[in-house]
């Protein structure tokens, strides 16, 4: 995933091994933009989305998943995810989404 991010995008990247770790990072305020997998041990992506919504955590979530069923996309969008990127990740598409949602406008944001 990290390799698919635009190289000129200057951000600090945190990695989490599962949903629970991911939530910790977000709670500490280090997850402004979250690339969220759906299939994870301990707490899956749906669980993370639900917690973010319940606790009203500050995170823009982009789901990155191999689960390409139409239903999966509808569900995560309904749960507050901003966008959905299919695996295997196409770097160009990732860039397009980041630009489209103004997350990486000109690369001047400080994260």
């Amino acid at each position: 995933m990290a390799r698919a991010l635009p190289p000129e995008w200057e951000v600090e990247v945190f990695f989490a091994n599962d949903g629970l770790e991911g939530l910790e990072v977000i709670r500490q305020g280090n997850g402004e933009v979250v690339f969220l997998d759906l299939t994870m041990p301990n707490l899956d992506g749906y669980g993370v989305l639900e917690t973010i919504r319940k606790e009203d955590l500050p995170a823009m979530v982009i789901v990155v998943s191999g689960d390409i069923q139409p239903d999966a996309q509808t569900r995560v969008k309904n749960m507050g995810a901003m966008a959905f990127i299919k695996k295997p990740i196409d770097a160009e598409k990732a860039r397009a989404i980041l630009t489209e949602y103004g997350i990486m406008a000109g690369g001047a944001d400080d994260h």
Partner: protein, 204 residues
């Protein structure tokens, strides 16, 4: 002939898991469209197993559920293996409903459903893995290993022509309905080194 020692690093395992995750997602998508239902995707199990532990490789193999099973070989670029689909027999009723199967649900009816589901799941999964690794896999003809039998009858341990090899296991379930199956991909011992090379290339 002395075969190379089969091994797997943590990075390689992660990479396999990622590749299988994508492939099984594609397979699940096909199945979801076929059945108009949501397929729950688990984390795929990637392990090196010893021939003696083959039966252990199947999650819940110790359960005494009756199962039906189809096996299909695949080969491409010197990499070969078999895909084994184990279908819980209690799944057929719901499966027939979802597939609008109107015939009698006897052995033949179940066989039809089994073949249709295995064509989709095995085919899409093998192709998905092949696409990511740049391998065109040819599939052999599927073989029914048994209907209404125990896992132990199908996956007999011992007398295998290998010692240790790569096994990938995916446990598919469907939401809200009672459909439950295991897909086991087993590669030949000789294939593992070649596969690892492809994986290392992706990791670099």
């Amino acid at each position: 002939m002395i075969t190379e020692r089969v091994s797997l690093t943590e990075d390689q395992r992660d990479c396999y898991q990622e590749i299988v995750n994508v492939a099984m997602g594609q397979a699940a998508d096909r199945l979801a469209r076929l059945l108009d239902a949501y397929v729950v995707l688990p984390i795929p199990q990637v392990n090196l197993i010893e021939a003696n532990d083959l039966h252990m490789a199947i999650q819940g193999a110790e359960d005494n559920h009756a199962i039906s099973s189809v096996c299909q070989g695949f080969i491409g670029s010197g990499i070969a293996g078999e895909a084994l689909l184990l279908f819980n027999d209690t799944s057929f009723e719901d499966l027939a409903t979802l597939m609008n199967y109107s015939g009698p649900l006897n052995r033949y009816g179940e066989l039809e459903l089994l073949m249709d589901v295995s064509s989709v799941l095995i085919g899409a999964c093998i192709q998905g893995i092949g696409d990511q690794l740049g391998i065109h896999f040819n599939q052999g003809h599927p073989v029914v290993l048994g209907q209404h039998c125990q896992v132990a009858d199908i996956v007999k341990s011992g007398n295998h022509q290998w010692n240790k090899t790569l096994a990938i296991e995916i446990h598919y379930t469907l939401e809200h309905v009672n459909i439950d199956c295991n897909l086991l991909l087993l590669f030949t011992e000789d294939s593992v080194a070649k596969l690892n090379n492809k994986i290392d290339y992706l990791l670099d």
